[in-house]
Structures are given as C-alpha cells and as structure tokens.
Symmetry: none
Subunit: 202 residues, 4 copies
C-alpha cells in the first residue's frame, strides 16, 4: 500500500466519521426528537467519542443546522433527477410532487427530522431567512407557480398561497403513511397528485 492510497483511506475514514455522526443524529432526532438525542447518545451511535463530534461540528446547534442543510441538498438532487425542465408546467409539477412524496416515503427518517426541525427554535431562523427573501431551495417549486401565473395556466393566487394549496397536503399524507394510517399505492399516488394539480390549475 503506497502513501497515496493510505492517505485516501485515512481521508475516507475521516469523511466516514463525519457521515456517521450526521446519520446517528438524524436517526436519534427523527425517532426521539431533540429531547431524546443527547450528544452522548449521538456519539455512541456514531461509534466515536463524545469530544470527537466537536472536531467536526462547533456545537450541537451547528450539527443540527448542518444536518438540515445536507438533507435539503439531497432532496434537491432527487427532485432534479429526471426533471423535465423544458416540459409543460403540468408535467413539471407532477414530477416534483411525486418525487417529494416518494422521497419521503422511502426516507421516513428524513421526513421525521425535518418535521422536528421546522417546529423548533432552529426552524425559526430559517423562516426569518425566507422572509428576507434569501434565495432558497424552494425556488424550483416557486418558479412553476410564477410561470403558471404569468401564462394564465394557474389560478390567480399569490405564489405562496399556491404553494400551500398544492403541497400542503403532502406533509399530512406522508405522516399518515409513515404511521401506517394509509397505504399509498401507485394508483392512489397518481390520483392524489392529479387532485393537487387540479386545485391550482385554472
């Protein structure tokens, strides 16, 4: 083993450690909330010492904020995969809606974490940012509403209202699915997606 591959191995190990910490935090917070995720538990689940976390994250707050950022990034990647950016608005909407629904159905931890996150002091600063119109991750969704309004394809609601009307049911649906209240099969998903589009289309 030469020095190059050795360093690569070490580097990988280091990156893995960071990833392990994030994953441990994700699972613990998703399952038990912020209350049920003390740093000691996170470090244990991640297989590192308690102090080690602080080499990768300045504080628990930073760890959580960072975790949120990474999850949003991954979701955005998933949404953009196969996104018909040049297709008709309807198709673009249906794609995004389905992707979000399926992403969270397949990643219930991500969903639970984000629910926890938005309903916590952490979520508040995020909202403040959005309020200040900082460019955010939801632009890809908002663009649809913007163009839909201009092209008179969608109803004449403020963009933000349109967002609520179209995507509001998602949270509720995913939660019910996660908790086993409802089984969202292919047929149902298709119907629901259409219904949500109909809600905003003119």
């Amino acid at each position: 083993m030469n020095i190059h591959s050795l360093m690569k191995g070490l580097n990988k190990k280091i990156l893995d450690k960071r990833r392990n910490i994030l994953q441990a935090a994700l699972e613990l917070i998703a399952e038990n909330g912020f209350h049920g995720a003390p740093m000691a538990a996170i470090s244990e689940k991640a297989g590192v010492a308690a102090g080690t976390i602080y080499r990768y994250f300045e504080s628990k707050d930073v760890l959580i904020t960072e975790l949120h950022r990474e999850l949003e990034d991954r979701i955005m990647v998933a949404l953009q995969e196969g996104y018909p950016s040049e297709g008709p608005l309807r198709e673009r909407f249906l794609h995004l809606f389905r992707e979000i629904l399926q992403y969270f159905m397949m990643n219930p931890f991500h969903f639970r974490f984000l629910e926890q996150y938005f309903n916590s002091p952490y979520g508040i600063s995020l909202r403040r940012d959005r309020l200040l119109r900082k460019p955010g991750n939801y632009d890809i969704l908002m663009d649809i509403f913007e163009q839909g309004s201009e092209q008179k394809v969608l109803k004449d609601f403020p963009k933000i209202v349109m967002f609520s009307l179209a995507f509001g049911p998602l949270t509720s649906l995913i939660r019910d699915h996660t908790l086993g209240f409802v089984n969202l099969d292919e047929t149902l998903i298709k119907q629901i997606t259409e219904a949500c589009w109909d809600t905003i289309k003119r």
Copy 2:
C-alpha cells in the same frame, strides 16, 4: 374603588391563577418551543412562585397535556358555533374550513403551540389514540367525508386522504399568515376555501 370591588378583584385574581399559568405556558411554548419554556420561566411569566404551578398541575407533562386539551375544547366550541349541522355538505365544509382558518389567524399562539405539541413526544400518544379509533375531536370533520363518500358527493378517496387534501393546506397557510408572508383577506379566504372544497368534491 370600594372594598367590595377590591375583594372581587382579589378573588378574581385567585381564580385566574390557573388561567395565568396556562396562558404563560401557552405563550412561552408557542414562541420558544418546549425547550424554551422551563417551569421557572412559566411561573415568572404567570406571576406566581415556581412551586405554585404544582398546586394546579401535577407535573409539567400534565400542564402541557391539559393545555392541549383546553385549546382543543375551545377550538371545538368555535367550530360548532353557527355550524349548519343540517345543511348541505358543501356548506358544512366551508363553515368548518373558514372557522379553523380564522380561529388560528386570530389565535396565533394556539396555532404555534399545537404545532409544537404534535411534533413532540406528547403528540405521539395522541396519534396512537387516533390510530386506535378512539372517539376524538375530529369526528365532526370526518363525518363530512364519510357522508360525502356515501352520497357520492365527494371523490372516492380514503377518508384520511380526503382530510389531508382538504385541510393539509391550512397548516401551511396559517403559518405563512402568522409570519407575515401573506395577507389573507376576505376575498382570498373565500377563494381558498372554495379551492379546497373543489379538491375533494367529485
């Protein structure tokens, strides 16, 4: 102020102590989450000593559970006021939707508290109860979907999906209104309400 009204005032003060504690807890939890609402802060805001809270509530858990219960009661009262229980389904739906929207617009603390509550260990047992079909406060809403399905007025979705479709946007809308992202005036509310009905009607 004579001595009679003075005594009445003092008496009122005593009777209101429980209410003060609940109100203080409500506001602190709504604004800062459960983290940001230690018993010491609640007692200070309520104008009582720390130990006093325990004369009215066995523990912090009980205080919070009780607060939730009382809020739900008040909301139910608001919903039932003027409820056209014998009217057509559409009218009944529109009434409930509007009332909920307006109730939370006028009581943003209640809204924030309930959001916190449902995303916490407290909320989990509640969900479990609902899953087990214990009779709950949401029956008045579910009844509409039930009857709507039977009478072929509504789409052929599971009740719980119908609920998400129709009321899912509410949470999102109220949050945006509370944060000042959107101004929900009379016209808009009317349009939104209609849109949500259209989503589920056949």
Copy 3:
C-alpha cells in the same frame, strides 16, 4: 348544655386536635420514616389544615421532639405500674424487662418511631444530653445496676455496660417479632428474660 360543658367540649376538641396531630405523625414516621412524613401528610391524616399544626408545635422539629418526649413518658408510666420498688433486685429487673418487651410488642408504632428517632439528627442532641448526665428517664433502670453493683449481686461492670448487656437484646428481639421473624410467646419471653438476668448477675 350550659356554658361550662360547652367550654369543656371545646377544650376537649382542642386537646384532641393536638393528640390527632401527634398520632398522625407517629404512624407516618413509624411506617415511612421521616422522609415519608411531610407536614402535609401529617395534617391530612390528623384531619386538620397544614397551618394548624403550627399553632400546636413551633416547627416540625419541635413536633417530633415533643412526640418523643410523650412516648417516653407513656412508657415510663407503663414501667412503673406494678413495679416492685421495694422488692429484690432480680424481681425488679424481671418486671422492667418484661414490661418493656410487652409494651413494644403491643405498640409497634412506638417502637418503630423510637428506632427512627434515635437514628436521626434528633437523636444526637438527646445523646448529648445523656452524655452531660442530665437526669433522664432511664434512671429507674440504672438504679438497679447501681445497687446491684454495690450489693455485689451483679457483675463488676460499668453501669452502662451492664445496661447494654441486659437490654441490648431487646431491640433486636422486638424488631424480629414486629417483622414476624419470631413468635415471642409466654414461655419464650420467660426464658429470654431469665437469660438476660443471668448475663449480668454474678
């Protein structure tokens, strides 16, 4: 009912209240220790308000000290009943030993309370008093040893050692009886009493 008997009735009521408080404290402390006998519990069991206790006893410490004093008084009365103060030493000893044993077998609460009392900060001041040779309740016992030594009837031990030798087994025996480990019947009591006398007699 004339005013005289009325006052007597009131007076009795007051004395009863004091007695009730002492009895409630006795039982709670005997059963649960000092930890398990908060003033609120005592007042409830005594059928009075919490604040009322403080009309009869300056503080919890005083209440307990007083309770101890009264119990000792009652025990002393029991010991002196039928005491052959002019009889031979042996007879006097046997009388006292038997009386103590039987008193506590019949009053297990008194026994448990005194055990608690002696092993607590309260008991410490008591010991200090005894150390300072204040005249105490145990003189009637000590006298036997004193005279026994002088008359060469008893062994040549310090009085205090004699006390331990003769009465030391009592505590242990009563405890075992209270807990049901042993059934102290007439025959056994007689034999034990003799054995303890034999231990100190020359």
Copy 4:
C-alpha cells in the same frame, strides 16, 4: 518528584475518585444521616463536581446501596481473618464477637452508617431478603447457632433469638463507646465477650 511518579500520582487520583465519593458519602451520612448528606455536599467533600458522581453511580440510591454492600464486604473480610473455622464453637464465637466489636470501634463511621442504613427505606428491602432466607452475609454467625443447637452446646432457643441474645448488646456497646460514654479496654472486652457467650451456652 519526577515525571514518572507524578503520572502515577495523577493516575491514582483518578482511580481513587470513586473511593473518595464513597468515603465522603459514608462520613456525611454517618454524621448527619441521610437528610444531612445531599449530593452537593457529598460531591464537595469528595472534591468532585456534582455531575461526576453520576459517572460512578446511577443515582443516590445506588450510591448508598453500593456503599452498604462494600462495607459489608469489608466487615466480612475482617471477620474471616484468622477465623478458626475448624476450632470449637466457643472459640469461633469469641473470635467473631471480638472482631465485630473491634472493627466497629476502629471504624465508627461504618457503624453509624449501618445504623442509619438499617433504619431507612433502604434497610427494609434488606430485611425482606433476610426474611425470605436469601443467602446472606450473616450465615457465618448463624452457622454457629445452628451447630451449637445440634450439638447441645447452646441453649434451646430459635436461632434468631440466640442471635439477638448474643449480639444484641454489641450495638448498644459500640454506640456508647463511640460517644465516649465508656472506654472499652482489653480487659473489659474480654469479660463482655465471655458474658455474651455465657448467655447462650447451655
């Protein structure tokens, strides 16, 4: 002092931390009872932070239970040292009696702690265990009484009564010694030990 011995000293310090906590608890409880031994006081006396105790003991209850267990272990070791397990009953009894007496005379804190312990909620479960005949530490004593009965060397009392008769005076004697009421010198100890043997021997 060179660096080697310095490190050894530090290491020792760390290893001794648990012992310091136990010792601090022992002394405080012995002197002031459980009331007078809050965790804050224990930690201060042990020279550690309050939270540190919880690295070594799950709770105050566990700390106290553990302390009791360790003391009993040490006492048992002391009793077994030089125990003439093959010698005549008399010699074995005299050995144990003397050892117990001397152990507690030299370790008054242990004595006071155990007195506190047995008269507390902690001691109650212990008694229950003994009642249920779980194998305990006192078997070495009970064996003597058992064999003594069989061999007709001892009086015909229940074992448990024999225990009280022979060892009952010990508690009382040690307490008096600890408080300075009596000076138990070699001669006196010898005489007392013999007297207690005589009490139970046939």
